[in-house]
């Protein structure tokens, strides 16, 4: 459609305004503009209302090379299937083009299907239960993983544009009971999914010269509960869970209790870097997942335009890499979100972690985050800025994102990121490179 010229716009506005002003003295003259609203069709209910389909292509470019090149089709259905019974199915097929980093790691382009959600919810009285693949998000401070670890991030996903897919959904049973001021939630997962890299095998370099270790492991059941109190202007959650860690830890296993300790072996190996560089006989690298207790609390407090968020958690029995020892872990996060009078949204947070075992070289970690968000053009354009800094591994990044909705179907997102990778290394799932640009285009109907 031809875009109206500035002159045309000016003429139209002037004509509209003058015609109103000319009749300002007689308000009953009926000098109104006529609009035939019947030309706007009313969307009638249809059996297809429960379906949603999204086609998307995204490309991330780093200097001299493509980093991500993925296309996807996603189909979602949700709706009532009987009185008090609700069904949701969310499936996404992604194709990784040959120049995508993940495809290059596997040697060729490939496709991957992901059933993100498939659950049935039944509600009766004051309680409901949800059975099937689903996500469960705890915690209040965005971008931190103090208590939000039940359904972790999937690091093979683009983190910028599609928040519905970035979680690693779990096959679980969730029960909830509600009262006017509280909620009690219980979950049970028979076989937890913790492989946050999914079809991107997690392989670690132990030390120069050592064979690379593939860290695959299947955890067993997880369960937990949360009690949430809803007060005037605040809410408070208390959580307890028996969980597995979302990252496997490389451990040295020996055939015998006799002989040197794993730490001695690693230390010796690093010192020698001998010709064959093999792990000493009788020892091997194996992945292990910490099974631990989580005790946590989270709160969000609204004070005028300020939303304060606080979280704290304790985790028992955390594994230490290449060690027989374990440690306790303490996490705390504080954040805020402030909406200005002109509707800019500013948020910030700090997340600190402390490992109680003094034998660990670095047992305190801090992560800072800062963000800004504002909508423009009748909500069609969303601009946001996100900055992160981490002390261990040390890195910093900043991303500016523009998300523009062209109409009810088409939208595009464009992001530019800059990072100081520091100790993160280049093949990490968090930041693509020191400089990167991501473009995605999506069609939804």
């Amino acid at each position: 459609m031809k875009k109206p010229s500035t002159l045309h716009k000016f003429t139209t506005v002037t004509a509209l305004c003058c015609s109103l002003a000319a009749h300002a003295d007689d308000f009953l003259g009926g000098d109104d503009f006529a609009f035939d609203s019947s030309a706007l069709e009313v969307n009638e209910s249809s059996w297809t209302d429960g379906f949603k389909t999204a086609l998307e292509h995204s490309h991330t470019q780093i200097p001299g090379d493509a980093s991500r090149e993925q296309s996807s089709v996603r189909v979602v259905y949700e709706g009532n299937v009987a009185e008090g019974v609700y069904l949701k199915v969310d499936n996404r097929y992604r194709y990784f083009w040959h120049n995508d980093d993940l495809a290059e790691n596997r040697g060729d382009a490939y496709g991957h299907n992901k059933l993100q959600r498939a659950w049935l919810q039944y509600s009766r009285g004051a309680c409901s239960s949800t059975l099937g693949r689903q996500t469960l998000i705890w915690g209040t401070v965005e971008g931190t993983f103090v208590t939000d670890i039940v359904t972790p991030f999937d690091y093979t996903e683009q983190l910028l544009t599609d928040y519905g897919s970035v979680r690693l959904a779990q096959d679980m049973l969730v029960g909830e009971c509600f009262s006017s001021q509280s909620q009690l939630q219980v979950f049970y997962t028979p076989e937890a999914r913790t492989d946050i890299y999914q079809h991107h095998p997690l392989i670690v370099d132990i030390a120069p010269g050592f064979p690379r270790a593939r860290l695959d492991i299947d955890p067993e059941e997880e369960w937990g509960l949360r009690y949430k109190w809803l007060g005037d202007g605040y809410d408070l959650s208390l959580m307890y869970a028996r969980l597995y860690d979302n990252n496997p830890t490389p451990m040295l296993r020996g055939n015998s209790d006799a002989g040197p300790s794993p730490a001695d072996i690693i230390g010796g190996a690093l010192g020698q870097i001998t010709g064959d560089n093999a792990i000493p006989d009788g020892y091997r690298v194996e992945p292990a997942l910490a099974q631990f207790n989580l005790v946590g609390a989270a709160s969000a407090i609204a004070i005028g335009r300020l939303l304060l968020k606080v979280e704290a958690a304790y985790r028992s029995e955390q594994l230490i890499a290449f060690s027989d020892d374990t440690t306790e872990r303490y996490d705390a996060a504080v954040g805020f979100e402030y909406t200005t009078t002109s509707n800019h949204i500013i948020n910030a947070g700090i997340w600190g972690t402390h490992l109680s075992n003094d034998a660990i070289a670095v047992n305190d970690t801090q992560v800072l985050s800062l963000g800004w968000r504002k909508t423009f053009l009748n909500d069609n354009l969303v601009m946001s800025l996100l900055g992160n800094w981490s002390s261990n591994p040390r890195f910093a990044s900043a991303t500016i994102l523009a998300d523009y909705r062209w109409n009810d179907y088409w939208s595009t997102a464009f992001a530019i990121s800059a990072a100081d990778l520091g100790e993160l290394g280049e093949n990490n799932p968090i930041v693509a490179a020191e400089e990167s640009a991501t473009m995605s285009i999506k069609y939804e109907f």
């Binding site: 109104d32 035939d36 949603k52 009185e83 509600f178």
Partner: protein, 294 residues
């Protein structure tokens, strides 16, 4: 979205009470009656509405869309609380477009201006309920409601002390007798409004709006709002078709009430956070309410 409650609860009538108060007695009486009527309508109401927005062109006073309208379909439920029914709770669910389907918003509004509005947003993509903090909304810049030309200011009600009023004219307007009432923001309001003046055409018999006109800070005509398809439902007169014409952006928004049911019993439990995540419970309740749609 800050005033989503007003948008959902009293869309059809809240415009009628936009900032209205009266130092002039007859105007005050008119506004009191309209305000009371709005609260009664919003007490136990469910509606399904369609909000369409487009750029427009005009020829001989006939306006029409010149691009494909953006369409949002929403369902909302509301209920009034408090001794004078001046507090409210409301929930709105987006049905269309597909990209926003499932987003839900629960809002508690209080007549007491010292008490902040409480709202929670359910983000369907995340599957998470997020508490929002927007204060009492009194000091914020107006923002677009669901991307339309309606702004949060257009949806406000009850700011009766912040304007001075004058009845400019009485007489027939089309086939109805109306009062034409002028509203001028007082200094306390002037800093936070987009308008320097507002005019209302109020039906003398039905106490509903037939037309509204706003003027920008320079005194230029800004927005014209037309009310059509006025029907009597449950003894209340309602405009099922409201069109806001923004003369400056050359965009218009049309709000159609496809279906509505009023004065129905809404359990307090429904207007809680449970409804944002317990879909089976939500749909069971909504299905029962939909049976009363008119």
């Amino acid at each position: 979205m800050l005033k989503i409650k007003s948008f959902m609860l009293g869309t059809l009538c809240s415009l009628a009470t936009l900032g209205l108060s009266a130092s002039e007695q007859s105007g005050h009486a008119i506004m009191e009656k309209m305000d009371r009527q709005q609260r009664e309508i919003s007490d136990g109401t469910m509606m399904r509405m369609q909000l369409s927005t487009c750029k427009f062109g005009h020829k001989n006073k006939q306006i029409s869309c010149v691009d494909t309208p953006r369409v949002k379909v929403l369902e909302s439920v509301s209920k009034q609380y408090g001794p004078q029914k001046k507090d409210s709770k409301g929930i709105s669910i987006v049905l269309e477009p597909a990209s926003e389907r499932g987003i839900g918003m629960l809002t508690y509004n209080y007549d007491d201006t010292t008490k902040d509005t409480e709202s929670w947003l359910y983000l369907s993509a995340l599957g998470k309920v997020k508490r929002m903090a927007s204060g009492n909304g009194e000091d914020s810049e107006p923002v677009s409601v669901f991307g339309s030309e309606f702004t949060t200011e257009d949806m406000e009600s009850g700011n009766t002390d912040e304007y001075t009023y004058q009845i400019l004219q009485k007489g027939p307007f089309g086939d109805r007798n109306v009062w034409v009432i002028e509203a001028i923001p007082k200094p306390m309001r002037a800093a936070k409004t987009e308008y320097s003046k507002l005019l209302y055409w109020v039906d003398q018999e039905r106490y509903t709006l037939l037309k509204a006109q706003t003027y920008d800070k320079r005194g230029k005509p800004f927005k014209q709002i037309l009310f059509k398809d006025i029907e009597k439902i449950n003894d209340y007169w309602l405009a099922r078709d409201v069109t806001l014409i923004n003369l400056q952006s050359q965009r218009l928004s049309n709000m159609k009430t496809e279906s509505i049911t009023m004065n129905v019993t809404v359990d307090d439990e429904f207007l809680t956070q449970r409804t944002l995540t317990d879909f089976a419970f939500r749909e069971k309740t909504l299905e029962a309410l939909r049976k009363n749609f008119q």
